[in-house]
């Protein structure tokens, strides 16, 4: 165990070369592959390239003996030679527009082919008010935030032949470019076909210029003569997902899928194509490199790692849907990390997204391990739609993307790929694999000093328990002529023993506080697909703890921008808390002793109703605080002026709430002691010799009572400390414990630990101080010491 922790070969990322990834991207997004549209020869070429690369790296086929999982899908193919022209008859001028620059067509909803010659109706935002006769057999152009099914259906229902939408970006702050992308999704496509698409704002303005303004209600203008021809064929093609695997050692059949998309959008107009360098060749390229790095490892993974390149993803995630319907590895044993894009340089770093319910742990672990390796990562709130299918099947899954602003455009090319970002993202994935899949949690972060220290501590424990055991069992036997008893009582062993007795508890306390502070409040264990899953990593907790301890005396680490200098915080909060505690202590001692003495002197015999004391004694601190809070509310509402002046909730009320219980406690003790002392002979004697009541009280009774009180002070202090937590919390009194809870909620270990230690220190000082006072004032105790 120790051996494997310290010396066994571990996971190594040294084989990672981001230039390789860059080269893969360069090829896959090159003009040769023409955007890898599914069903084309270029797409097959891309598949071949991926297959060859994985084969070369020695990674086995994932679908029995094949790297491919073939399936059929339907692919809308938009003809690139579409026509959109406007003829201005009077001037004999033809104006033609370009697809993906001025307008785009979509294949979702009713989007389909059209060959149209005729009038274009510009209706602005009034579409739903236009009567049927107007729309029939025409193409309309609307202005709207989005092209929703309702509007398209309206046109279809009224016999229209097409609808284009100009996105009103001025009102809706959206990236207009998005609407001019190529889109071959068939989501919601019904039988009827009409042309559906977007036009750019500029084109919309041009259309308005070339239109005749009829000044009709709701109609913005009419373009008299236009020609629109869009050919979309919906062919069914056969294509394949790429699947490769790296067998794990565990026989439980658990599988981690690393997936990415293969296909792209294909060709555009004028010989251009959609390179899709970041979306999505970067994903599959990094998978090739990850495969290479994993193959070089000296250790084998626990779970089986499966690399999947989903094909046909541009059309409603055809590849991943097919896989979900025909999984090669059981879905209930699957975890999925999908790489949407990687390698774009961004401020936030790699964005990780998932759904909440099944994948939160996966996300949380991915991020924890990533941060551990100083990977730049951030959480994306929205779940990417590729994951929905997997989420529905309860597969824990996350999506990684680098925020690609050139998505689905001609300019998503190799020039936007940043090697550092590639390295960052790939390392993030690798570090997750290292910890979770390879379980390579080698404790390699300890420096020499720390190793020596740990060994020393273990030695101390061994020596202590060893000598103790030997002395007890074979005290008289001899080892090298010295009896075990002698060894046990020899000076060095005694020093070690006394050291461990005095210092060990403190070390344990400090260690425990540091562990607690580094324990994330999000720690959770859940049963997912019949297996217990947790986002808690003992390795990381230990590592964080050690790192913390290493930096514990580095003051700089403890200062924070949001909270300020650590010493200021400690000073301010301790002073506030001390003020509260000491005042409460003094008040309760004065009040308690006074009341106890007076009661004890007045009541003749021990006949006081213990029922009454117990009632008061059982008062929970929470109740007292609640009542005083209510009192405060009452005062604040009824005497606002008075309250503003005095501000009772700031100190007075907390103090009173804190004082009540210790006072009762002390008065009870004082009372009992008084009664007991009054029966004693020396008091009787003092009375008998004619001492006045006051003198008896001052010289005999009071010291006796005081001694007992001081003896019980440690117990009272513990009570006070606990009550203080409640009082500070309820009254928003910014003392130490208030801050402790606040810092804990922020997972702020570097501030939490010093404060917690201060609290402990205060308690220890108090207990020592009290025992010192006790010795000072109680002659009996002093004597004891000399005995």
């Amino acid at each position: 165990m120790t051996y494997s922790c310290l010396f066994a070969p571990g996971f190594s990322m040294s084989g990672l070369n981001s230039n390789n990834i860059y080269r893969h991207i360069e090829y896959l997004s090159s003009p040769e592959l023409e955007g890898r549209m599914v069903g084309t020869i270029e797409n097959e070429k891309a598949l071949d390239y991926i297959q060859t690369s994985f084969k070369k790296n020695g990674i086995k086929p994932g679908n029995d003996n094949s790297y491919l999982q073939s399936f059929e899908m339907i692919v809308p193919n938009i003809d690139n030679s579409s026509i959109f022209t406007v003829n201005d008859e009077s001037e004999q001028k033809n104006q033609s527009f370009k697809m993906y620059k001025d307008y785009s067509v979509i294949t979702s909803y009713q989007g389909g082919s059209v060959d149209y010659k005729g009038e274009i109706l510009l209706v602005g935002s009034n579409l739903l008010r236009i009567p049927k006769e107007e729309i029939q057999n025409k193409i309309v152009v609307i202005v709207s935030a989005t092209l929703n099914p309702e509007r398209i259906q309206y046109v279809a229902d009224h016999g229209g032949l097409g609808i284009f939408c100009s996105v009103d970006t001025e009102n809706f702050y959206r990236d207009r470019k998005l609407e001019l992308q190529k889109n071959i999704s068939m989501e919601g496509k019904t039988g009827e076909s009409l042309v559906v698409g977007y036009v750019s704002k500029d084109m919309y303005n041009t259309l308005i210029e070339s239109s005749i303004d009829y000044d009709e209600q709701y109609i913005v203008g009419r373009v008299k003569s236009a020609r629109i021809k869009v050919d979309i064929d919906f062919s069914i093609v056969e294509t394949s997902n790429f699947i490769a695997k790296l067998e794990g050692t565990d026989k439980n059949g658990r599988v981690l899928i690393l997936s990415s998309n293969i296909d792209g959008l294909g060709k555009g107009t004028d010989g251009q194509y959609f390179p899709g360098a970041l979306n999505s060749t970067s994903g599959i390229s990094s998978l090739i490199e990850i495969g290479q790095v994993l193959k070089e490892q000296k250790i084998t993974a626990k779970d089986t790692i499966v690399f999947i390149g989903f094909n046909g993803q541009q059309q409603d995630y055809a590849g991943s849907s097919y896989y979900l319907n025909n999984p090669i590895y059981p879905l209930e044993l699957t975890t999925l990390i999908h790489i949407e894009s990687i390698g774009a340089k961004s401020f936030e770093g790699l964005k990780v997204s998932s759904d909440y319910f099944n994948s939160n742990f996966l996300k949380s672990k991915f991020i924890q391990y990533g941060f551990d390796q100083s990977i730049s990562l951030s959480i994306e709130r929205h779940t990417n739609s590729i994951l929905y299918g997997f989420i529905d099947e309860s597969v824990p899954c996350i999506n990684l993307n680098d925020g690609n602003k050139w998505m689905n455009s001609y300019s998503d090319n190799i020039n936007n790929v940043n090697i550092n970002a590639l390295e960052n993202g790939t390392k993030g994935i690798l570090s997750f694999l290292q910890r979770e899949i390879y379980k390579s949690n080698k404790i390699d972060f300890l420096n020499q000093r720390e190793i020596v220290l740990i060994i020393l501590l273990i030695l101390v424990i061994l020596i202590n328990s060893g000598t103790h055991y030997l002395n007890k069992r074979y005290g008289n036997k001899k080892f090298l002529n010295i009896s075990y008893e002698e060894i046990y009582y020899s000076l060095p062993i005694r020093v070690i023993r006394s050291f461990s007795k005095r210092v060990f508890p403190y070390i344990v306390i400090v260690f425990m506080i540091v562990v607690l502070a580094n324990l994330s409040s999000q720690t959770n264990i859940k049963k997912i697909n019949g297996e217990w899953v947790t986002n808690f990593s003992p390795y990381l907790l230990f590592k964080k703890t050690i790192f913390y301890l290493r930096n514990m005396f580095n003051i700089e680490m403890h200062n924070s921008y949001s909270i300020g200098n650590i010493f200021d915080i400690i000073r301010d909060t301790s002073i506030k808390s001390l003020k509260l505690i000491i005042s409460a202590l003094i008040l309760s001692i004065i009040f308690g002793i006074g009341k106890g003495l007076v009661d004890g002197m007045r009541v003749k015999k021990n006949k006081v109703n213990s029922l009454g004391t117990l009632v008061v004694f059982s008062l929970p601190d929470v109740l007292i605080v609640l009542v005083s809070l209510l009192f405060y509310v009452h005062v604040a509402v009824n005497f606002p002026l008075f309250n503003e002046k005095i501000q009772i909730q700031k100190f007075l009320l907390p103090l009173i709430s804190l004082t009540i219980i210790p006072s009762i406690y002390i008065s009870r003790i004082a009372f009992i002691t008084t009664q007991a002392e009054l029966d004693k002979d020396y008091i009787k004697h003092a009375r008998a010799i004619g001492m006045s009541k006051f003198r008896v009280f001052a010289t005999e009774l009071f010291p006796a009572v005081l001694f007992t009180i001081v003896d019980t002070l440690p117990a009272i202090m513990a009570m006070l400390f606990t009550n203080m937590i409640i009082v500070e919390y309820m009254f928003n009194y910014n003392g130490i414990s208030y801050y402790l809870l606040y810092l804990y909620n922020r997972n702020d270990a570097y501030r939490f630990v010093p404060l917690a230690l201060t609290l402990g220190l205060i308690y220890i000082l108090f207990t020592y101080g009290i025992s010192w006072i006790a010795k000072l004032i109680n002659p009996k105790k002093r004597e004891l010491k000399y005995k």
């Binding site: 339907i74 039988g191 929205h382 529905d392 213990s610 929970p620």
Partner: protein
């Protein structure tokens, strides 16, 4: 007078015990009853008030912001809260007695463990550590039982050392006394001395300490409650917009500490919701303290017989005297405290009503048998005093499309030299039937671009085979209409490898048959071009009227009776009438509950055998009762078999934004999970609301009418071992608890 603490404490404890045993007798309301709005008549004017309600006539101690009665909540919460305190104390003593004994006998290691622990938890207050540990997300999401366990473990770890310390010191004192030295001198073994000499001496102290410790644990639970940490803490997602989760901390289990969690923020607004639980804590802490103190006084009397008898009892010698009264008393108190939580006598069980007489043949929508059964149900409702809805008949009719029940169906593949008959339901399924026989070749359109058909002549006089995988239903309908309008065809064969064929009883009529076939058959057909197929089918026309039967059982509360719990059940069946018999008996049982505040609508839905004819579609569309007033809908139409293995359930459509149905749903969930293997119905999340993917009809009430729905169904797969009446009992219990 000296025994006063003992007596008062004893009385209080007995009272607490009684409340724990039977909370129902002490509570005016059910603690689960959520009512956010209440009505009151003052000076002839109707007042509407929103929760939280201040202490008043209806709510003696007021209500919380969900409208739950504080008094009832406290009364019902007694069991859990006190039990928790007792259990923690028991575990603390189980750990600290042996360790304390060993340490007292000089085990240095254990001694240092005790000392270090108690030092540590004083330096960093135990409360703080408990808060930090119990705030971990893991503990926040546990169910009741695990949550109790978590509390016990954490508070035991944090608290045992203090008792250990006291015990250790006492053992040391006892050990230094002469009689122990004597025992050592006569050669008694240490184990023997510990058990026969030390422990009996320690016993009175332990008993006293035990009661004091319970009081201390209760204070601790109370303190934790202030910080929002309590048993069965349901962190409910209030809002998950943009992936940011806002939690709503509520306790569903009646429990005291949970009520304190709002104290910091709401004390100025709802002081009663905080003060009374705190008082309850105070009283019980006091009770345990008094009792402990009383015992101490009793045992410290020099001539105490109790002390001697305890010592004797614990000295592990045979008792000479028969049982001492005192010991029995203590034991009984302890045992009752521990086991009182497990008590619960069911008054919700019921049996099939013998008077129900149903036909054994199949009862299907549109048939005569259906009419007969529906008349029977109406009569049965009348017998139970279930009224029809105002101005309406019991039977709500709805029109279904012209439909037929299949009587005969045959499909064969004709090759050159052979004929193959295919199995209905296994190989094919007729979706739309046509009277005459059809025979023809096959046109394989599996790989055609159906949106841009250029040549329609290829389809002529052929069965057209379409792959429905690529298109949605609307598109398929369009293709069928488009192709059949352009040319003469024989029929359509639909294939989808992802779809499983189900039995289809009721079909529609069309000019040509539309048949769904399996992928295997489609592949066979696609391989050989010469194949022909022949279809023959016969069907009987059914009545085109669906009949839902609806009746309302009015509630007793004059204000709440407007609000309605609706229960939907099926009454169509293929062979066994047991399910309908169960449904009727359940209705019978529910009408016999003495205190239904809200009204209950019973609805028997027609056409549940086929999704397309399901009467719920009509109900969701148009129902003669305001959907605002239907507080919750419990759907039992999916209960199709009387013996079953697995139960499907979902309360996803009863979100927390609607407290009453949420409460019913959560309660059902909890109770059902206790006794059944539950499969959660699959859902997808659309804009924060859930949509069931299994049957569309499950979504009708929620998505169309906005009525929060709870769905319970079972499936016919496998021979079942579970009985419907077990579910019935739970449904009756939940409805009754939420409705009185």
């Amino acid at each position: 007078m000296k025994k006063l603490p003992l007596i008062v404490g004893g009385i209080l404890l007995v009272l607490i015990l009684l409340i724990m045993i039977s909370p129902k007798t002490f509570a005016p309301k059910s603690p689960y009853t959520i009512s956010r709005i209440r009505f009151s008549v003052e000076n002839g004017k109707l007042d509407v008030e929103a929760a939280p309600f201040p202490p008043s006539e209806g709510y003696i101690l007021g209500s919380d912001s969900l409208g739950r009665d504080i008094l009832s909540y406290i009364v019902y919460g007694t069991r859990l809260t006190i039990l928790l305190g007792v259990l923690i104390a028991i575990f603390q003593f189980l750990i600290s007695i042996p360790i304390g004994l060993y340490a007292g006998f000089g085990n240095k290691f254990l001694k240092s463990v005790i000392k270090q622990q108690s030092f540590m938890f004083s330096a960093i207050p135990a409360l703080l550590i408990s808060i930090i540990l119990l705030r971990l997300e893991y503990f926040g999401q546990l169910g009741k039982q695990n949550s109790v366990l978590a509390f016990i473990i954490v508070l035991t770890i944090v608290g045992w050392s203090k008792i250990g310390l006291i015990l250790m010191e006492r053992v040391e004192v006892i050990n230094s006394q002469p009689f122990i030295k004597g025992a050592v001198a006569i050669g008694k073994k240490r184990k023997n001395i510990a058990l026969t000499n030390v422990l009996p001496h320690l016993a009175p102290e332990i008993i006293v300490l035990f009661f004091m410790e319970i009081a201390r644990n209760l204070s601790m639970i109370m303190q934790l409650g202030v910080f929002g940490i309590f048993v069965g803490n349901l962190k409910i997602i209030k809002d998950s917009n943009n992936g940011v989760l806002t939690y709503f901390e509520v306790s569903f289990e009646p429990e005291w500490a949970s009520m304190l969690s709002t104290s910091r923020t709401y004390i100025s607004v709802v002081p009663w919701a905080v003060l009374f639980p705190a008082l309850a804590f105070f009283i019980s802490v006091l009770a345990f303290n008094l009792f402990g103190e009383g015992l101490r006084q009793l045992l410290q009397e020099k001539d105490s017989t109790a002390l001697i008898s305890i010592k004797r009892k614990l000295s592990f010698k045979k008792l000479k005297k028969p049982n001492s009264k005192f010991m029995i008393w203590i034991l009984v108190v302890l045992i009752v405290f521990v086991f009182v939580g497990r008590l619960g006598i069911s008054e919700y069980k019921f049996k099939p009503d013998k008077s129900i007489d149903l036909p054994q043949e199949q009862v299907v929508i549109g048939t005569d048998k259906r009419d007969e059964v529906s008349r029977f149900i109406v009569d049965y409702m009348k017998k139970l005093n279930i009224k029809s809805l105002e101005d309406e008949d019991y039977i709500q009719e709805y029109i279904i499309k012209e439909s037929y029940v299949m009587t005969e169906q045959a499909l064969q593949i004709i090759g050159d030299d052979h004929k193959d008959f295919l199995e209905p339901t296994i190989d094919f399924q007729i979706l739309s039937y046509s009277d005459s026989a059809f025979i023809g070749g096959i046109y394989n359109a599996l790989r055609d671009d159906l949106y841009n058909i250029t040549d329609y002549s290829v389809f002529e006089n052929k069965f057209v085979m379409l792959n429905t995988k690529f298109y949605n239903d609307e598109a398929i309908n369009y293709f069928i209409e488009n192709i059949s309008s352009q040319t003469e065809i024989k029929g359509f064969l639909l294939v989808n490898e992802n779809q499983i064929l189900k039995e289809k009883l009721i079909v529609v009529k069309s000019e040509y048959p539309i048949i769904r076939i399996t992928n295997d058959i489609a592949m066979k057909l696609a391989q050989k071009k010469q194949l022909k197929i022949q279809v023959e089918s016969k069907a009987k026309k059914i009545n085109t009227i669906g009949k839902n039967i609806v009746g309302i059982y009015p509630g007793v509360d004059p204000y709440l009776r407007e609000e309605v719990i609706m229960i939907g059940m099926n009454y169509n069946y293929l062979s066994e009438p047991e399910v309908l018999e169960f449904n009727l008996s359940l209705m019978n049982k529910l009408t016999r509950l003495d205190s239904n505040k809200r009204s209950i609508i019973f609805m028997f839905v027609d056409g549940t055998i086929d999704e397309d004819y399901n009467g719920i579609i009509d109900v969701a569309d148009d129902f003669p009762y305001s959907s605002q007033k239907i507080k919750t809908y419990i759907d039992l139409t999916g209960l199709e078999c009387s013996k079953y293995d697995q139960l499907e359930f979902s309360n996803k459509q009863a979100p927390l934004t609607r407290p009453f149905p949420w409460s019913v749903g959560h309660h059902l969930d909890k109770e059902l999970k206790k006794s059944f293997e539950i499969k959660e119905l699959e859902t997808i999340n659309i804009n924060g609301e859930y949509y069931f993917t299994k049957n569309e009809s499950d979504n009708m009430m929620f998505w169309d009418s906005g009525i929060a729905s709870i769905i319970i169904s079972n499936s016919s797969i496998g021979e079942g071992k579970n009985d419907l009446y077990d579910i019935g009992e739970i449904i009756v219990e939940v409805i009754s608890l939420n409705n009185y």
